[in-house]
Symmetry: D2
Subunit: 342 residues, 4 copies
Amino acid sequence: MAVRVAVAGASGYAGGEVLRLLLAHPGVRIGALTANSNAGQRLGAVQPHLLPLAGRVLEATTADVLAGHDVVFLALPHGQSAAVAAELGEGTLVVDCGADFRLRDAGEWERFYGSAHAGTWPYGLPELPGGREALKGVRRIAVPGCYPTAVSLALAPAYGAGLAEPEAVVVAASGTSGAGKAAKPHLLGSEVMGSMSPYGVGGGHRHTPEMIQNLSAAAGERVTVSFTPTLAPMSRGILATCSAKARPGVTAEGLRSAYEKAYADEPFVHLLPEGQWPATAAVYGSNAALLQVALDEAAGRIVVVSAIDNLTKGTAGGAVQSMNIALGLPEELGLAVTGVAP
Amino acid sequence: MAVRVAVAGASGYAGGEVLRLLLAHPGVRIGALTANSNAGQRLGAVQPHLLPLAGRVLEATTADVLAGHDVVFLALPHGQSAAVAAELGEGTLVVDCGADFRLRDAGEWERFYGSAHAGTWPYGLPELPGGREALKGVRRIAVPGCYPTAVSLALAPAYGAGLAEPEAVVVAASGTSGAGKAAKPHLLGSEVMGSMSPYGVGGGHRHTPEMIQNLSAAAGERVTVSFTPTLAPMSRGILATCSAKARPGVTAEGLRSAYEKAYADEPFVHLLPEGQWPATAAVYGSNAALLQVALDEAAGRIVVVSAIDNLTKGTAGGAVQSMNIALGLPEELGLAVTGVAP
Amino acid sequence: MAVRVAVAGASGYAGGEVLRLLLAHPGVRIGALTANSNAGQRLGAVQPHLLPLAGRVLEATTADVLAGHDVVFLALPHGQSAAVAAELGEGTLVVDCGADFRLRDAGEWERFYGSAHAGTWPYGLPELPGGREALKGVRRIAVPGCYPTAVSLALAPAYGAGLAEPEAVVVAASGTSGAGKAAKPHLLGSEVMGSMSPYGVGGGHRHTPEMIQNLSAAAGERVTVSFTPTLAPMSRGILATCSAKARPGVTAEGLRSAYEKAYADEPFVHLLPEGQWPATAAVYGSNAALLQVALDEAAGRIVVVSAIDNLTKGTAGGAVQSMNIALGLPEELGLAVTGVAP
Amino acid sequence: MAVRVAVAGASGYAGGEVLRLLLAHPGVRIGALTANSNAGQRLGAVQPHLLPLAGRVLEATTADVLAGHDVVFLALPHGQSAAVAAELGEGTLVVDCGADFRLRDAGEWERFYGSAHAGTWPYGLPELPGGREALKGVRRIAVPGCYPTAVSLALAPAYGAGLAEPEAVVVAASGTSGAGKAAKPHLLGSEVMGSMSPYGVGGGHRHTPEMIQNLSAAAGERVTVSFTPTLAPMSRGILATCSAKARPGVTAEGLRSAYEKAYADEPFVHLLPEGQWPATAAVYGSNAALLQVALDEAAGRIVVVSAIDNLTKGTAGGAVQSMNIALGLPEELGLAVTGVAP
């Protein structure tokens, strides 16, 4: 019997990607679709790529509309999820694609978001140590941020194996869909095409504490992260270049072996063969994460590069994967690892 | 029982897209993969997005390798299909993604391709009048060209309903994957990004006689086509702007109604609601064709714009759709109409 | 002695391009820079590429601020130029980059813009027959629209020489800067990258009557224009594919010769050598227009393709060129025909 | 009297950019243009944006052709410059845009390039300490690599002021023109559009020893550099994100002050106002380098981001700037700091 699913925030990029994946998921039936300013519109007018749902009409995001579903995906601006979730029964699986319930440290939340902390939900990154177990049977899931997904997958094995010093340096390039669908001048096509630019430099990006949380857990000690996000002239994709000083005695073979071990049985995380580096195009629309590792002996650093689709594995794909686990469905159900390229 | 499928030319863009779709097709099992200069390589090295097949090794394109499959897709440079097909038994379904068997007029073939005409196979555009019937049970299929697909779907209903004068004007923009994967300087990213340029202007493009063939059949009289293809700075997609003088008495309502009638029951061809125009992003990776029509009363012309993904509906998706029909499978099996956007 | 120039609307794309060109113009001194919502900001905050003016502060657009300059460029939303111009003395050269004063026919203005017609100013396309003479010494200039510039340069010679039937078909692709800097969802980078889409199909685009005005003047009879603009995934550039039925007896040689004659002495309009087709990249940031012509004998049509930079020759470059003529300066002063490529 | 300049390698991207800049340089006259495989072609066929030189014919690269010029720019594949330079008189200013003469350490050259070291020429980065003086009157100039230009400008002040530990981490994104015009599959538009990918990870990129050379000179001690270059979907531009551990006691004010002091009088290097970060679009086609600095106190690192146009300040603009110094011309002659944006 199909699981009945509602999506709140169906007119945005995250909500649209959740729907794109659900349309290919054999175990679900798509129920209510809600929006804020776009309520009342046909979905086809705002998400023309979701052709099978083109005639659906967006409803307002209210508890009444969302009630009566087995699963509710929330793809709302941060700060809005708690109020909606509070009105949904405990038996409903609520999957929050936003930031509200990702952090364990209320102080960090307040420092980076400037509002009261709503709480902490089970964290939807099954590939982290213990991550899969922690999602089984739950009814609340905090979907990780797109950058933390790329960075945690890239560096957790090195920290988990004690290979790296606890000071990570991350520079990541993201497609513009990561910035959402709200029309802002610096996100205009005219501005972003042909241009690369950084933002939130110097530690200010809100995904930083989430990376620190994940990497510190893997390392068993406090890890600092110097994180510089950059905006790349593409719609989708994150390429994260992550490095840390190698601990004494680390070898290229040992490094590679740690990653092989960490991801040998993972359906979505792939260590590429030696000599091949990940390109975001290869994971376009797919739930795969591609990794490659190197030991830069002259600089004494471990370098790991990961590529994901920020909307798929980085958001909606990770969300569906976690939903599958929570509901006891096969984890890969409805999730492709085939990218749309070229 | 799954149909066993081989793909010849699996390292190129058309072959790669056939494989991407077959990986999502529940009725097939992927057999031999062949290439020319890339034979011997892992597929993952040349098509890194096809992760489930990454470990497969490309074989040389020989009859021996291709034998023993129920279906063989040919994605070869034009002129090479006939020799390969001749060695495959008559019971094998051969689907040629190349140009060799598309034209009925040997003289036109020779004029545009400069070589002897190999013959004519059943034409894989089910949405043309009679097109679907002509594919049932066949064992040879000529997949249409990407531009002729976009243009024929756009104009055939107007000609079929007698609404347009037999002189069509088409300007189409294509993503660069339409030009293939052979490395040529004018196809370098540095050259195509930020630039639009025409090619084959003045009637020289090889897809022109194929358009004329299809539109003339729909019109029941000879239709001329002034066709200008342009190269757009994107990897995928065709946007075809097609127009013709309206016959006397044509109204906007009559025009729209002809298209509604023509495509009411088609699973892949969608006339958009009035006021909405097709964007290629909405069909990225999907087998849908989106259409919109207008009657420009001041200029006295019918204008139809169609958007397809040149690699999907324009090549590999059309090929799989036709395969489904030929084999008696459900026509939509394995083919999404959900695009990957944004 | 340098001419003192003010720019109203300096924070937008047209105003920014006027400034970019004026910075390289040896005969001017840049005076007041004004804006609306951006007044009070440093120019460097909104136009970071105009480094030599980064410290300038944008003032409000008032007659007081604009007074006392020899030349005032208006780069304002349509409908706002008349009021500003009325307050500037008759001795001031006012160059309006907007649409307000382009059309001669008040009825056409009202039909397409829905407001009262402000009047008609000398038209800033020197390459049209008589166009240069009409600009000498004037103190008001209406800068042509970007599409009409590309299309009029492409087709005027054919109509002037009586080679084409008076029914033109134009499909043009434009970079997104043509749509301006106002943040609208459909202009987000995430939406436009990787996508082509039409707009204003069926005769509705406001540049249509301006094209008709220019081509009809060249032809000496009423010319209709079926115009379809499309949005291309690039910041700058227009590629206009223009065609019309050839009149009886037209030959390829005769066609080419008409264009050679028309543009032999033009510094900015270049007919490419046979076999070479224009790419917008070649005119990136330059004031050149590149043309190529073909006679499609099978379809009986003349096809002309033109490439310009919509912001340079299509707006600000054309404006500076016309300013030069009006002021009696060398027409090419400060205007490059070297594009920034690749 | 104009300086007579030849360009060897005029059909490539570096050579084309040298010509683009020379066309706007009031002190030079462009003489011989040479190429290898393109010799015999019109320049307009291979560099259509260089309209004023379109009719020039490319000659073979021989000493005879290059003789008799005051300045010869070499834009050749690495390893070819020494032989050409040897045949040019000592009075000729030879400006090598290639790598052959950049490194002082022959061992490093051999390790990274696998051939015999040709020698070391005066290094064309005037903004390094002592860099300007070292170029006055010279007749041989080694133009820096594009990445080393971006990285050295970004980090030399921090090292020069003793603010940073000698272990730099650099992740840089480059437009595809940095990879040259040779047609390679991974550089096809279809491959690079919509994709980010790294290359030369782990210390293997040939620009690494040049960065180490420059930063070590600035620091007065050996600096290691962990360098990861990435290919971005744009034609031009480098965005370099550079960081190093801050030495004890470093403050944000002290850091900023070091950069203000270092570049206060530099015409081409601009520290942006606080809060504004560099975008490569702002330096498109310009010789400016834009910088911003931050102290990430939580991570204990100095972060400096620089943006240049890889072909302008990163290659041809730096070359012309150094030529100006060597010849005693005003350093800024012919070099704009106005970018072409949007």
